[in-house]
Amino acid sequence: MAESLRNLARILAAYALLAGSIVLLAATGVVNPYWVQILELACVVAISAQGLNVIYGYTGLFSLGHAAFLGIGAYTAAYLMKTVGGQSQVLFFTALLAGGGAAAVIACLIGLPALRLTSDYLGIATLGFGIIMKVVFDNADSFLPELGGARGMTGITKMTTVPWVVFFLLVSLLIVRNTIHSSYGRAIISIREDEIAAETMGIDTFRYKMVGFVMGCAFAGVAGGLYAHLYAFLHPSNFDFFKSIDILVIVVLGGLGNMSGVLVASFGWIFLLEGLRVVLPPGYVELRWVLIPVLLIVTMLLRPQGLFGTREFPFLRGRLYR
């Protein structure tokens, strides 16, 4: 009891320190609003990347449609806030959870048939689902005019702030850490390592695959809600195949099944993208997407196992390894 209280105090202190220092830096003008927004985006991306890390890194389910779940969360949360939420912080929190819930429900419906597929076939099925969802978002205005369809969704209030993104990032890290080091986590990892062996040991592989998949997609849903209220504008192209690839690249670069690596890679990726925009001379910004693939290929050639390997930050380690 005393220890769990101490843990809680430690987490709250970490949260206050992180969010407080960023807010302070922003308020004193050390960090300009543009970079604060980039930082918020990086946190949002980190949350959804942790989701894919659970799905692909820990459970071993190859998913190429992660951005679709981001989109489901984003549109759900934005719709709820636009129709009933207004400016209320409490309702914002609820809307984010509803976005995560919607993504989880749809993940469940998709997972029921799709998780029977293995490896690359699952990848193709999720890729297909991603493209179908993009078509649905594109035509969304024909059943709910508020969603805007291919013209994009406007009229969303900017609700996402530093305290919110840091809060959800910390919560997602804690959930992943505690799940992975529980019996659920053991089961999930054993499926990744060898599904047949896991089944022989009495693990209900389908059920645990579903747990991993739904949990990861729920993270994407919450991240989507935060994303919607960060830029106050949604467009179906924010959730296309390339965005799924972005998140996949982050997870692979960070190292599959490595929370610290994925966390660092999320921030590194976003700041690299934006940093190159600043560093490259005007008129050469298109070179960004020529340099990044080269960097990607070279990284894969030199370190195919991801940048971090198997090392974790101390606060993300399991008790067994402490």
Binding site: L117, I124, I131, I132, E286, L296, I297, M300
Partner: protein, 294 residues
Amino acid sequence: MEYFAQQVINGLQLGFVYALIALGYTMVYGIVRLINFAHGDVFMIGAFIGFYTIERYHLPLALVFLSAVAGCTVLAVLIEQLAYRPLRHAPKIASLITAIGVSLFLEYFTSLRQVFGPNFYSFPRPFPVVIWEVGGILVTNIQAVILVVTVLCLLFLQFIVFRTKMGRGMRAVSYDYVTAGLMGVNVNRVISFTFGLGAALAGVGGVLYGIAYPQVNTFMGFMPGLKAFTAAVLGGIGNIPGAVLGALIMGQSETMVSAYLSSTYRDGIAFVILILVLLWKPTGILGAPRAEKV
């Protein structure tokens, strides 16, 4: 009824082009188990080679095809040797990410102003278009060219795979990579050859696509590539007739949705069919189930 028949013809035109791309995906996947995302961009390069050889140099059609084939083959073999070969024994995801990297590189590098440029270019018609009316259905000579060229390519492919030593090597490597190597098959050369062969077909496909849908852009390879790969999975990946069958289904479904429903749903339908087929038969329509080794 005539409208329907007309759509079938249009669907065939699209399906044949998809088939030429899908063959490259299915052969490469059959041998190295890699979704070669860069294949769609090789197809784009083929279309651009066609664009330049017709627009700038006014080459005859046969030479246009030949230069597209040569250019794409060299490109694909280079990609294989520089990017994929060093990763042959790394985790599979590393090759996949590299393939995505190569794809993005080809798209964005060629869209630089110094290379092809980011604009849409209208593809010149290499011959005047003739329209025939057959029982109320309009058939163009473009469709005839696509049909003849695709069938020739398929016959050529069939010949290579089943009647040559290299073809036997390809079949052996796709059946069992390690054992084929032990039996004296030069695995590296077979893999390079497969990449080259697939790219040659994509090059032909690129030129045909440019003739049929006369517009080229450096990002044009993405969607056809994705759909061609889906077609290959639909037919049973690694299976050559399957890829053609899948591509024809893909072409038909897409054309029918555009004709009878709305073209905004066009990109979605192919994947709905794919998911349904995968649920019913996870290895694709003509794919043989693989024995699982424990």
